[in-house]
Structures are given as C-alpha cells and as structure tokens.
C-alpha cells in the first residue's frame, strides 16, 4: 500500500465543486420519552444498516473507573432478555448480520447491518440489548479480563496506542483524557456493580438517537421502532455537561519507552476546535491543504520531498468541546530529531506565511470531488445522519456543504489558521520509541515525562485517582 489511509483522523472532511449532495429522504420522529428516531429508505440492496447512539460515553466514566462505559456497552451483547451471550452471538451471526456495541468518548453505540428479511428478529435483539441487558457476573469477569489482555496486547503496535497516550497527556484532568478502553489497572478495579450503576445512570430513552437506513417500508418501520423503544424510561441521571478545555501553555514532552522500536512515532499537538465551530468550513479547507491528503503541505515536506516517513498527517478531531490539532508521523530512530524539526518548521511556516494558494485550491477540489463517496452505502448514510443529530445539525450541513466549500473566502481561511494552528511556543509532544536512543533528542523540546510502555497508561501518568 502506498498510503496508510487509516491514519486520516480529520473529522468528516466534506465536498466541493459539482452537484449538491443527494441524501435519501429521511424522517425524524421524536418519541414521548425523548428518543430521536431517524429513518431513511434506500433500496439498492436488500440490507438495512442501524446506528444507535446513547449520549454519555466515556466522558461519563466516574473518575478512577475509566473504561466502565465501554465495558458496559460491550456487555450488552453478553446477555440480554432471555438470551445468553452464546445465544445472542449464534442468532445474530447465524443470520449473517453484524451487531457491535461499545463506548466512545461522548456516546455509547450499537452499530449493525443485516438482511432486510431479518428485520423483525434484529430489531427485537437490538431492543433486548439496549433495554434488557442482564450483565451476568461470569460474563462480566470474563470480558473485563479479556479487555485487560487486549489493552496489553495492543501495546505491541505503537500506532494503536499513541493516540491514547496523546489524549491522556494532553487533556490532563479533563474527561477527554480518559481512554475509552480504560487501562489495565482501572479495569481490574471495576465490579459488576459499577457496570450496573453506569447502565442505570446513562441508558434510557431520552439518551437515544436511533437511525435505520435501508430496504424497508418507512411507515411500517416507524411503527416497529415505536413499539420497541417508545416506552423505554429515561436514564437515571441527567446528562453531565462537558467542561470547556483551555489551551495548555508552553512545551510538554511525553516519552513512552518501547525498547525494541526501530522507529519513533510522534504526535505534536495543541487544542483544536469544537464540532460546531462557526469557521469549520474554512478550517476543513485549511486542514486538508496542510495535512489532510497525499499532496498536502505536511506530507510533501516529510514524505514526498524529505523521504523521512511513509506518511505524515494533520489530525483534527472535534467534539462537543474542543478537540486537538496535531501532526502525526513516524520516522526511523536515527532521524527523529530531523523529522520533528522539519514538522515544526512546516507548522511554523503555515502560521507565519499562511497556506500556499495552490495548496488551498487543491484542497477545495479534493474535498468536493471525494465528498459523494462518503455517503454511498446504507451504513455511511446511517452514520452521517446519527452524527448530524448528535451534534445538532440538520441535513443542510451536508447537502449544502459543497456550496460552502466553494464560497469560503481566502481571508477566512487565513484567519482560521491564525486562530487555530498553535503558536510554536505552545505545543505538546508525545513520542513512542526506543528511549535509550532518543532521550537526549526529545529533551530539546521541553521537560520530559518518561514512562514505560508496559505500565498501565493512566497509572504511568499519575492519573489513576482524580
């Protein structure tokens, strides 16, 4: 592969020039308990995609119990209604369906796809999972221990873990620091009672956004969903507001020691913007131009011209509150300093001199040209619709996006770069690599906190008890 596309973490970079995007007609229904249901018919293939979001997620993990939201959501599949874990897996997979549950940062989710002929069975299963989980003690212990093993095992691939270190180190005491999976020690401390308490507080009709897209009859589907979710009581606790985040000042450096590493993985970032940022469209253009596609300014400097890496990306996740903006790349151990210096210079130049106009023009076309491919499948449309609803946008956010990309003024793009791209003096650095070989290099960038990759993440950062 020439491009590691999996590294692109730009949040929903959207379209540009040509035709406005066509989304299938959808119907939104607010049930009396507060649940929001969004339905859209799409008849290309005899399939149905489902997305269920429950507001909450790991930001609602009680301090010291990081990972409980994700464990709770994962346990929904391990016993619900009258079925055991084994029976649920056999039923769902036996139909050739997929149904996953888990906890994200700001929402727990159920994600699935099934053949249209199985819609009644699958709706029953989904309703059982969300409304009637049984959390068997045996399954709780097993999944908790398996989750601990999975976290340990993931540490053999730096790409899988650097994001978690970056968030935990960058956000410090803020809930966005919490790894959704927790760490080995916080999971070990969890009990079944913690899971039940999380479920009672955070699951209920008022937290639900349920989207179904696919080969069904809309009025009939609406009735089926109302029957199954219309009487779901509200969650036991009010949804906690997420505090705002402020930009940390100065330089901070985290070095994660992985003694066998032959290359250094690095994340250099600062505070980004919220999902509803008013300048999100010019920012999408800037982010794409700077580091969101192959010929971006950043990838050109580090890979195409520098030959220092297989890939360099600008990542800009946005949440209800501000996320981060960051350079992410990797290079062989010996060129760590060279690659980081070049990355820093590239970022400083973007602020100092603005983004090259050819790069901006290319980004506009790229965004527009690729945009329709993000809304082709039932699953893509269902994801887009649930995401819009979660963040309070209407469909026009997508259908009118190409027009806004075309209309964004160059001075608006220049201004948003000045506002959002961090000044050189306020940066957080995270390195995963062979500490004995890069310790002296990374300390050039600031005061270093060094941890071993084998330690539990939160404990290593001194964050296990807030």
């Amino acid at each position: 592969m020439r491009l590691a596309l999996g590294l692109v973490a730009l949040v929903l970079v959207l379209p540009a020039d040509a035709a406005a995007l066509e989304l299938p007609a959808s119907r939104e229904v607010r049930l009396p308990n507060g649940a929001l249901v969004i339905l859209a018919e799409k008849h290309d293939v005899p399939m149905i995609a489902v997305r269920g979001f429950l507001r909450g997620g790991s930001v609602a993990d009680p301090p010291g119990k990081e990972g409980v939201a994700n464990l709770t959501a994962s346990l929904l599949r391990k016993g619900a209604g009258k079925r055991t874990a084994e029976e649920i897996a056999a039923l769902v997979e036996g139909l050739g369906a997929s149904l996953d549950t888990g906890g994200g940062l700001e929402a727990s989710y159920a994600v699935g796809e099934f053949m249209a002929r199985d819609q009644n069975t699958m709706l029953d299963v989904i309703a059982d999972l969300l409304r009637r989980p049984t959390f068997p003690e045996k399954e709780f212990e097993k999944l908790r221990d398996q989750s601990i093993d999975a976290i340990t095992s993931a540490k053999d691939d730096p790409q899988e873990v650097i994001g978690g270190y970056a968030a935990a180190f960058f956000f410090g005491p803020h809930p966005y620091a919490r790894p959704s999976d927790g760490d080995e020690r916080t999971l070990k401390g969890l009990t079944r009672e913690d899971v039940v308490a999380y479920y009672r507080a955070n699951y209920g009709g008022d937290r639900l956004i349920l989207t179904l897209v696919g080969d069904f009859d809309l009025p009939a589907m609406e009735a089926k969903v109302k029957t199954r979710f219309g009487h779901w009581a509200k969650a036991g606790a009010p949804l906690a507001a997420i505090p705002a985040v402020s930009r940390p000042r100065g330089h901070r450096v985290l070095l994660v020691d992985k003694p066998d590493a032959t290359q250094t993985y690095f994340w250099i970032g600062s505070l980004g913007v919220t999902r509803r940022d008013p300048e999100r469209v010019p920012l999408d253009i800037a982010n794409t131009a700077f580091g969101g596609h192959y010929t971006s300014i950043l990838n050109t400097a580090l890979r195409i011209q520098g030959g220092l890496t297989y890939g360099a990306r600008w990542q800009a996740p946005r949440y209800t509150q501000a996320g981060t903006v960051a350079i992410y790349s990797y290079t062989k151990t010996e060129t760590t300093g060279k690659a980081v210096d070049l990355a820093l210079e590239t970022l400083a130049k973007a602020r100092r001199a603005g983004l090259d106009s050819a790069a901006v023009a290319s980004a506009r076309s790229y965004i527009t040209g690729q945009f329709p491919t993000r809304f082709e499948t039932e699953s893509q449309v269902a994801s887009a619709l649930v995401d819009l609803a979660y963040y309070g946008f209407d469909r026009e956010e997508l259908t009118g996006y190409a027009g806004r990309i075309a209309a964004a003024r160059p001075d608006a793009i220049a201004q948003v770069v000045q506002r959002v791209y961090p000044p050189p003096e306020d940066l957080t650095f995270v390195f995963v690599g062979n500490a004995s070989k890069i310790r002296s290099v990374v300390k050039r960038y600031g005061r270093v906190t060094e941890v071993k990759i084998s330690e539990p993440l939160l404990s290593a950062l001194g964050r296990e008890v807030r």
Partner: protein
Amino acid sequence: MKNGMKVIVWPDHDIPNVALYNWFHVGSRNERPGITGLSHFFEHMMFNGSKHYPSGEFDRVMERNGGSSNAFTTEDVTAYQDWFPKGILELVFRLEADRIQSLSFDPKMVESEREVVYSERRTSIDNENASLLDEQVQAAAFVAHPYHNPVIGWPSDIERWTIDDLRSYYQIFYAPNNATMIVVGDVTPQEVFAMAERYLEPIPAQPAPPKVTTQEPPQLGERRVSLRKFGQTPLLDVAFHTGAANDTQAEARDLLLTILAGGESSRLYRRLVDHDRLAVDVSAYVNPEGFDPGLLKIFVTVAPDKTAEAAEAALVDELAKLGRSGPTAAELTKAKNVELSGYWHGLQAINSKAAALGTYEVFRGGWRNLFTAPERYGRVSARQVQALAKTLFDPKNRTVGVLVPERAEASK
C-alpha cells in the same frame, strides 16, 4: 483491445463519481533473490514521474482536480486505483496512459522513495510483531515457490535495488497485454471504451512475461519457527498449504473460514477465547490467495499470561474435530448467510464493486462469476466442508510459528 489490454465497465449512476482499478499481473511472485520487494517498490515509482507529468505531478494533478489515488501490491498483482469525479475521466486516462508507456526513472526519486519504502517496512513489519511472525511462517512454508518472499522485500534487497532493475521490470511487466482495467461508476461503456481506444490502445503490446513455473513440492512434515523479541503477548500463527484462488474448493474454503473464526459464535473463538480463555483474538484467512496454491492461516493473539503451546493444543484439537464430524447444519447456514450479506454489502459502493469485479476477473475465472457467487456458495454441502477440513488440516501439512515475548532486560 488490439494490444491485449482488457477493459471492463460497470455503470452505476448513484453518485457522480468513478472508481478505476488497473490490475497488472505482476507481484512478488515474479521476483527472484536480490530483487525481492521490487514489484512493490515499482508501485511507488509509478507515482514519481512520467514524460508529461514530472515527479509528483500525478498526485498533484489528480488531487487538485478532485481525484485521489492509491495502489497495492500482493504476491500476485499490482493494482492501481483512482477515485474521481466523472468530469475528469479523460484526464485520468491521460495520466494512466502516460505512466504506463513513458515512466521516468529519476535517480534522486529512487533514493528518496527507497527511504519511504523502508519506513513502510519498519511500520508494517519490523515494529509489528504479528506481521514479523507471519513473514517468517510464510517463508518457512514455501521453500521453492517465490511466495517464500515477503511482498515488501527483505531488508538487504530494499537497500540494494538499482535503477536498472526498475527499468527492466517496467519493460517486462508493464505491458498493456499484462493489464486488466475495471471502471465502475457514473459513466457509459461507450465513453470509457472511446477513452481507452484513444489513450491506451496505441501503447504497443510486448512479449508475454516469463511464466512462473516453480511449484512448491508437497510438504512431508510439520515445520516450526520461533521468534524471541520484546513484546507484551505471545503470538501463534499456523499455516496449511491450500489451493489457488480459483481452486474448485474455493467456496467451501471460504465457508470453512467463517465456521472456524467468523465472529464470536465461531468454533475457534468459542474454544480459545471464550471457553478456555487462552487467547485475546483469533482469525483465519487465506493468504496468499492468488494464481498459485497459497496458505490457509490461523492467527492467534495469545492472552498475555498464557502460552502459545496451550493455545496450539486447543487449536489442533478443534481442527481435528471439524475434520472428524464436519460442521453442524446451523454452522453451515450461518456461513452461507455471512457470504450472502457480505455479497450485498459489497455491492453498495462503486469502490467495493470495482474491487470485487476485478478480483473475480483476475483470480476467480472471470467477472461473470461474481454474479453467480451466491448460488455457488449456496450449493456447498456439509460433507464438502468436512472433507476439505480433513485434507487441509493434516499435521504433515502444517507450519507453526510462535512469538515468545521477551521483556526489555532480556532483549538489550
């Protein structure tokens, strides 16, 4: 076309975009010692300049016109992918034709790209224990056939390829008669064929590339490899020789994979992960799955406090059981349903349609077979799956790889 290149068009007007896959029938299978990894390196060089589009221009032109591109190399093929708005169809044909017939070989780009590929190797193999182990297992399973070599190449070869190696590769393998182009999206066959005739048909055919004639001799006993390196968890990778992509048992084999490791209701997940709690995860797949007989691999991420030996014993026991008693009716139905929903899933996007059509055309007897796939899978019997399991999982046909993690102190 007259020069032997085949172009297949599948119109789909849902979105105003096009997915184009151009498959060259060359991969690491066509390499020899000294130039391992060259097919993949060549893939990179196809983006580094041609007569009318100097270095870097292919991507710059593509992206500033709303398109994007990528490519992948396997043991058997190198496929170039373009995804673009329909308005630039002609531009894409100009770009493709230029690099197929007049690629540049700039020594500076060769050196810079060599570093990029080495970084790719460090990322995807050297710093990823699972891939590192699998490289060793595949090398042990094939002693004669070039599937022995990793697609990315052995490190010493990455360091030493020459510009002349690239030139001769271009000459031999990048001929229109060695390519199959698939175009899916908001186009008509007439306009695509017109473009192909204008831009691609004038490129002259070349002598057919030399055939790969080496055959892997039958394996007559178990082979074992072990790796000791820093890591958090033990790994187990077990490989069995199996047929090529278009083997008569290909459908039964796909169903067997689902029965073994498809989801939490699969045999191996239930036994290794759920019941015995020996593993974090287990997967089963065929790789290489290409022109020549490949491997069926079972990969187990062992739980950190368990051993690969214990996981291996449980795995071997389950494989033998399947050979003895065959799948249950429910297991077979599940596997068939998984195939069917996967089939419909893949027909939703122009990109996955292009990938599926190309895979059938290149590897599975022709593109038409894609449309009869559900029936073929539907006809497979439990007895067939059982017989296949029994033959495949013969211990003599087994190559076992284990990675034993060492802590920092030991590896220094």
